[in-house]
Amino acid sequence: MSSPFIRIRGLQKHYQMGGVTVRALDGVDIDIPRQTFTVVMGPSGSGKSTLLYLLGGLDRPTGGQIEFDGQRLDEMDENQLALFRRKAVGFIFQSYNLIQSMNAAENVGFPMQFAGFSPKERAARSLDLLARVSLGDRSLHRPSELSGGQQQRVAIARSLVNEPSLILADEPTGNLDTASGAGIMQLLSDLHKSGRTVLVVSHDPRMVRFATHKIFLLDGRVVSENEYHAASLE
């Protein structure tokens, strides 16, 4: 493996909050190889969600570099970032972020609309993906008619619709009960096994079982597993 799939160097993200500078990320170096399952762990406020959003091009770093498959995200303009998110990344959120007035199939096909696919193509692909997350019979249900686990599976199907190489999940099991959460973890693991690079932000310890790589964050810095456990015991 010559250069890693994702290469992060000196990444910084600072916010101004009530006159105080918050260093959400303060000089982070990470390499993520292709087709790995990375779990980012850390207490709330450690900067793990910030890392995920920066990696997905939803936010801009204050400093440092993010290289994705040879492209510098930190140097892209708004339009290039939008196209990057459209083609390369699939997002999964803690609160699903489904559109309430659309049924499951429409939600799954929504990203394809911006990519210019025909309604026919969208419908075919949405139904196919819903079947893959075992919701083939729920395609016409609206989010309010689905359980939390089912909604998250719709969201996973949506994240796959433009065939991204990177899946980013922000606390995907955070709002789910244990059984549903396990199902979602299994699905994410399957995505990894089918050749995608998956990065999950989570503090669910069960997620670690699926991980090929682990990143520990404390106060905006990457720490070793030992340091992390030592700190969390204090």
């Binding site: 939803l58 708004e78 339009n79 998110r85 459209r86 972020n97 911006f114 696919f117 193509e121």
Partner: protein, 454 residues
């Protein structure tokens, strides 16, 4: 599966589908906001239609003033001119003074000057009868305005024949369509049904000319004329007039005044200048005035009236536009609310690959959509209301016209197609503009902040 596509602009149909879907989600609020636009658009249409209707009516009446390519030219006399007297009297002695008050008569030489003005197609002298006239037909008596025309072919004046011909020969006359209505039966007793106006075409009319000598004795002269044509209605002076050859009228005036009339010296009492096209009328009119004659064209009057109505249309349209402005604020308000409520949705759209332009297009589309829906409703309601007003007004005014005489209106409110199209486009544009600020805000949101918005 289609190849991966990387365009940053939504296809129009996709955008339309998205916008309609979004509007459909909020039917109630969209409808309430659109009602404001409906009222504004309908107000613009009704008020402007009313102004246009008024203008049309005025023009219908105004075209009766005469052919718009004609200029009436009268001589300029010095002060102290006596109606049928012995020619002009100079006062003030400034013979070579020039100026507007210098006498300028319509002599045969002056007619040549008029003919030389560029754009003049014909110069036709006219003269009125300087005596009293009573016209008899069988047992009916009537009166009419007798005009001598300096051409044998009345089509030179743009007149048309309803019956018979337009060619005047010695001893014949052509009458206006209303002349017959002026005949009455002098032996009719009060309360008796008046006779119907006679058909005078091809009939012999007996003219009794009356003058008085210096002692006040009445002198009569009776001549019979053949009616060879009846003109179509022009709503002008000719409708009530009897037209005769100028030579015949000159002979009658010489009899009435007891002296010879020399047009080379005394000039004609009036000349009609026919201009080749309407566009040249005002220039020719100015040229005639510059020569020192009095010139009158109905065109300047008609144009003044038209200018007034254009201003009226703008004022009425402006009043309606105020209603539209209020509606625009409603749209801006609705869109601002929608963007606050849908902040997370905007964040999601960006996360799944919507560009800023996509988001802008969607929200602008929604705002324009509200404007369009409201505009459509307003156009429909405005048009229907105009039609309703028309029916009411025409029925009312027709009954008024029947009672009091006059020409009934053909329309009260006139809605041209361009107004409907304009109103619809304008309402859509208003929606678009109202949505501009909210849509820009939506488009420029930082995606991560929008996603975290509670």
């Amino acid at each position: 599966m289609g190849a991966e596509k990387g365009k940053s602009i939504l296809k129009f149909l996709d955008l339309l589908r998205l916008v309609l879907g979004n509007l459909n989600r909020r039917k109630g609020r969209v409808a309430l906001t659109a009602i404001g636009v409906v009222i504004g658009t309908a107000a613009v249409i009704i008020l402007v239609s009313l102004a246009i209707g008024l203008q049309r009516n005025a023009n219908e009446q105004l075209y009766g003033i005469g052919d718009l390519t004609q200029i009436q030219v009268s001589p300029t006399y010095g002060e102290g001119f006596h109606g049928g007297g012995g020619g002009p009297v100079m006062v003030g002695g400034g013979g070579g003074g020039g100026g507007a008050q210098a006498p300028k008569l319509l002599t045969t030489h002056a007619l040549k000057e008029l003919r030389a003005i560029p754009g003049v197609a014909a110069v036709i002298p006219r003269d009125y009868l300087w005596a009293s006239l009573m016209v008899k037909y069988k047992r009916l008596e009537g009166s009419a305005n007798l005009i001598g025309i300096g051409t044998n072919d009345l089509s030179d004046l743009g007149l048309e024949a309803g019956q018979g011909s337009l060619t005047l020969k010695r001893g014949t006359i052509i009458i206006g369509p209303q002349v017959a209505a002026n005949f009455y039966d002098p032996r009719l007793r009060p309360g008796q049904e008046p006779p119907k106006p006679p058909d005078l075409y091809n009939q012999q009319l007996t003219f009794v000319f009356i003058k008085w000598d210096r002692e006040g004795n009445e002198i009569r002269k009776t001549v019979t004329y053949q009616v060879v044509g009846v003109l179509t209605e022009t709503l002008g002076e000719n409708d009530w007039s009897i037209l005769m050859r100028l030579d015949d009228v000159k002979a009658l005036n010489e009899w009435a005044q007891g002296r010879r009339i020399n047009y080379n010296k005394d000039g004609y009492s009036q000349v009609i200048v026919e201009v080749d096209k309407v566009d040249n009328v005002l220039a020719v009119n100015d040229a005639i005035t510059a020569l020192g004659f009095q010139a009158y064209t109905p065109l300047s009057f008609v144009q003044g009236i038209n200018n007034f109505f254009v201003i009226l249309q703008f004022i009425f349209g402006g009043v309606g536009a105020i209603a539209l402005l209020v509606a625009a604020i409603g749209i801006a308000n609705t869109m601002t609310m929608a963007i606050l409520e849908r902040t997370r949705e905007i964040g999601l759209m960006k996360a799944i690959g919507a560009t800023n332009r996509n988001v802008l297009a969607i929200f602008l589309g929604e705002a324009a959509g509200i404007g369009f829906i409201g505009g459509l409703g307003g156009v429909l309601i405005g048009w229907l209301a105009g039609q309703g007003l028309n029916v009411l007004a025409i029925v009312y005014l027709a009954s008024q016209a029947a009672q009091q005489g006059g020409i009934p209106l053909s329309v009260a409110v006139y809605t041209p197609l361009w107004l409907l199209v304009f109103a619809l486009v304008f309402a859509t544009l208003i929606g678009l503009l109202s949505g501009l600020y909210p849509a820009l805000r939506a488009a420029t949101m930082v995606p991560v902040n929008a996603l975290k918005y509670e």
